[in-house]
């Protein structure tokens, strides 16, 4: 009973376990819900789906199971919809007259059939317009657009008129999560913890009190210690813009995980390579700059330096004065990098670019030489290695 439904959920990538399935059967036996289709829908979702990000998938599996329709899901999944198509850039707001003027296309089946067809015909990003899949248009397929019977692909539902939501982007994000979710990052970053007692002594040290009391012939002698805190201080330099845009999400996750793990965490931004100044706030990079020399004047050598960047650039940006793409730099990036690394002896570079591509990119090789090999891929294993390198004396 319902085993097929259960298996369909699993194959759609919703992490349901046997215990949860048994709980559902138990709930049905206990007659928690009436026998209507809507109630079963809500009940099964309550018991089986534990993350609102999976609701959308669940809806599809449920509809599929109920109607016995083999949606063209698999077929569609094979035609890869690039995520940057769907990044919403424009939101089309039409007047009611215009909305009324858009005719509905056939029925639902017709819509899905055409979607598959257009997906195979189309081979590029598309925005606006009224036929191709993309953002902000009037084609029935895509995101943020308006068509009375549209299929939404990626992004947030704004007009709430899609007959069926086929949200491709959620799957992509989720696949990322499996590799390196914030939780995983946090667990990996925990290796960086080194607890030390600092500050006010306000915790009772039970062992010391007992032995002191015993030595004091039974007369109570309270001993207090300071609370244990993570004493690791981290200086985070993030590469932003250009080739790093692809990894923004990954870096954001790392950053949000790091922020809650450390008490002392400072972050600054740079572009491609470190030169004589860094910026404090990425949004106002031209107004608020900090001379790089200030960095080692302000923070001591006990700070752990973590650089996050793909180190993918023209080799001149590292080796030559004036090589920067943004401004004229008097001294080469390599010299600044070397100064930075000598000021902070505990350092590591996390590189989100795939490990296989490192040997093919000259600038990565140069950066690795400068770092004496302390460059690690931005994966769980890499993070783990970096944490080890940072804590070793």
């Amino acid at each position: 009973m319902l085993v097929r439904f259960f298996l369909a959920l699993r194959s759609a990538g919703i992490p349901v376990s046997t215990t949860e399935f048994l709980a559902l059967l138990e709930a049905m036996q206990a007659r928690v819900a009436s026998h209507s289709v809507e109630d079963f829908y809500a009940l099964a979702r309550l018991v089986l789906v534990k993350d609102e990000r999976h609701y959308d998938r669940y809806d599809r599996v449920y509809a599929d199971y109920l109607k016995g329709i083999q949606t063209s899901f698999e077929a569609l999944a094979q035609g890869d919809v690039p995520a940057d198509w769907l990044r919403s850039k424009a939101q089309l707001l039409l007047s009611p007259e215009e909305q009324a003027a858009i005719n509905k296309l056939g029925g639902f089946e017709e819509l899905m059939r055409q979607f598959a067809q257009r997906l195979s015909e189309q081979s590029g990003r598309h925005e606006g317009g009224s036929k191709w899949i993309g953002t902000g248009g009037r084609s029935p397929f895509g995101n943020d657009g308006y068509h009375p019977e549209g299929v939404r692909v990626g992004g947030q539902s704004r007009n709430q008129r899609a007959v069926k939501v086929w949200d491709r982007r959620e799957f992509k994000n989720l696949a990322d999560n499996v590799e390196l979710g914030t939780r995983n990052i946090k667990v990996a970053l925990r290796r960086l913890r080194r607890f030390a007692r600092e500050g006010a002594q306000d915790h009772l040290d039970l062992d010391a009190t007992i032995s002191a009391t015993a030595r004091n012939a039974g007369y109570l002698d309270l001993k207090l210690v300071a609370e244990r805190r993570n004493a690791i201080k981290v200086l985070l330099l993030l590469d932003v813009g250009g080739s790093m845009d692809r990894y923004v999400r990954l870096c954001e996750e790392l950053f949000s995980a790091a922020r809650s793990e450390f008490k002392h965490l400072r972050q600054y931004y740079f572009h491609n390579c470190v030169y004589e100044s860094l910026w404090i706030d990425n949004a106002r990079r031209h107004q608020q700059r900090l001379p790089t020399t200030e960095l080692w004047r302000t923070y001591g050598p006990d700070y752990r330096l973590v650089i996050v960047g793909d180190a993918t650039m023209s080799p001149y940006e590292i080796s030559q004065p004036g090589g920067s793409v943004e401004h004229w730099n008097e001294e080469s990036g390599a010299r600044w990098l070397a100064r930075l690394l000598s000021a902070f002896p505990h350092h590591a570079w996390l590189n989100p670019a795939a490990r296989e591509s490192w040997d093919r990119t000259a600038s990565i090789g140069m950066a690795r030489d400068l770092l004496a090999g302390r460059m690690y891929p931005l994966t769980l294993a890499g993070l783990d290695q970096a944490a080890r390198a940072l804590t070793s004396q």
Binding site: A42, E52, T182, R183
Partner: protein
């Protein structure tokens, strides 16, 4: 006989699937994990369920420093040391110095209680893992007195989360999960009717329109939620603002009166003003 089914109260509008969620959690005595946008009434749900079923409510509010053990019990060693100095007889029995936590209190309750674990995502990431056995078997062991504490009646446990941290799978597997969706216009109308029974129809209609337009402004840091709408309506009523005033200040052209109740972030207000400026320029 106590009520065993939750059907909402006169202060709280529960949608059908939320009622089903609560009732399933009661029937199968599993913890119910509630998520949703801030201001959709997650914490209030526990209070209303307790009131609706006339069960006692135990609230455990989680902070970033809360440890799982604190919900069970704490051993007050300092008082015991002090008492031993004073030669108090109580000192011989360690159980005098075991301080019960909220979970223990709920387990010991004579009637089936409701236990609210509020904002579980605020705590350390290992916090939920430390409560697995307690939630599953509804029992725990007191090491100091070598005593096994079992729940007299399995409490209805309601856990809320704001999604600040991801919860571990083992924990999720033991819970039922419900995501409180942002109410649609008809549900919102019911909620407002319940809170402001005398509100004029046309004012409400205009206000809701302004509110939903505002929610659709792209890029807002904090979208206004139900509780903010209710506050705003309260202000509109107190200032006696007429429906036409709202209509004239069509959200696309002008910033609505008392917007401070809806937009709580100066960047959001700024962004909104910029959008209005653009709209006006385009209209010209």
């Amino acid at each position: 006989m106590q009520a065993t089914r939750f059907t909402g109260t006169d202060r709280y509008v529960a949608t059908d699937d939320l009622m089903l969620a609560v009732n399933a959690a009661i029937t199968l005595s599993r913890p119910l994990l509630i998520k949703g946008e801030p201001g959709t009434g997650k914490t209030q749900l526990a209070q209303e369920v307790a009131a609706g079923l006339s069960r006692p409510l135990f609230e455990w509010h989680i902070k970033s420093t809360t440890k799982a053990q604190q919900g069970l019990y704490e051993y007050d060693a300092v008082s015991r040391l002090r008492d031993s100095q004073l030669g108090d007889d109580r000192v011989r029995d360690i159980s005098n110095y075991i301080v019960r936590g909220r979970v223990w209190e709920a387990f010991a309750c004579e009637t089936p209680p409701v236990l609210l674990i509020d904002e579980i995502d605020k705590a350390d990431i290992e916090f939920p893992n430390d409560l697995l056995r307690e939630l599953d078997r509804m029992e725990f062991f007191v090491y100091e007195t070598r005593e096994l504490i079992k729940a007299r009646h399995r409490p209805l446990i309601i856990i809320t989360s704001n999604n600040e941290k991801e919860l571990p799978d083992a924990f999720l597997r033991r819970c039922f999960f419900h995501y409180i969706r942002f109410p649609d216009e008809s549900t919102m109308q019911r909620i407002v009717d319940m809170h402001f029974p005398g509100l004029k129809r046309d004012l409400l209609k205009e206000a809701l329109q302004v509110f939903y337009t505002l929610r659709e402004v792209p890029g807002l840091k904090k979208k206004p939620s139900t509780s903010e709408l209710l506050d705003w309506l309260k202000l509109l009523l107190a200032e006696d603002i007429a429906a036409d005033a709202l209509r004239e200040s069509d959200a696309k052209k002008q910033i609505p009166p008392m917007h401070g109740a809806l937009l709580k972030n100066e960047q959001d207000v700024h962004l909104y003003e910029q959008l209005l400026f653009l709209n006006r320029r385009n209209a010209r």
